[in-house]
Symmetry: C2
Subunit: 115 residues, 2 copies
Amino acid sequence: MSDSRFASTPAPPYYAVMFTSIRTADDDGYQRMAGRMTELAAQQPGYLGVESTRGSEGLGITVSYWRDLESISAWKACAEHRIAQETGRRRWYEHYEVRIAKVERAYSSPGTARP
Amino acid sequence: MSDSRFASTPAPPYYAVMFTSIRTADDDGYQRMAGRMTELAAQQPGYLGVESTRGSEGLGITVSYWRDLESISAWKACAEHRIAQETGRRRWYEHYEVRIAKVERAYSSPGTARP
């Protein structure tokens, strides 16, 4: 299957950044920033893909996948991304958690190719 | 803050199981199973918490947190959970990805306590 909602990641090991968040009511500029960050992340060295969703109860989970910790550090330090992070802290997110993890094993549902 | 949508995880290292899925249209028994698995997982040795959401486009992301790989293996092998996994493969999920990762770093939004 080829479903763009799933990230097409290579065999482990690789890294994941798990960003779990609750938004504020402030929508000003948020959608534009989110779209731009998705686009910009995909251009970074070491970027492997992203999976992202937000449910009706308000919890959002975005997992981006990266080749190594160096790629993650470089993306975190990217100038345009730093502005988005700062504005996010100030305006768009009520609370968030960031977890950086090394993916050691991965498997797909049987009977379906990796998307 | 204390918000049950966030998992109250300890300082790293610990482990995460990332379950990304698209559901089928078959709802028969799904909600009951999902509720029961949430309840049962929380009783397992080494369970640290869960964060879960499903957006309007259908992608669901559930991340459960565990003390170590042994806890994850034991939960995967749990008899009642195995039946749910088997039924899920057969009926409830169109496609899913499972990734097991070691959380190495974690931080919260500034100005808010860990939930």
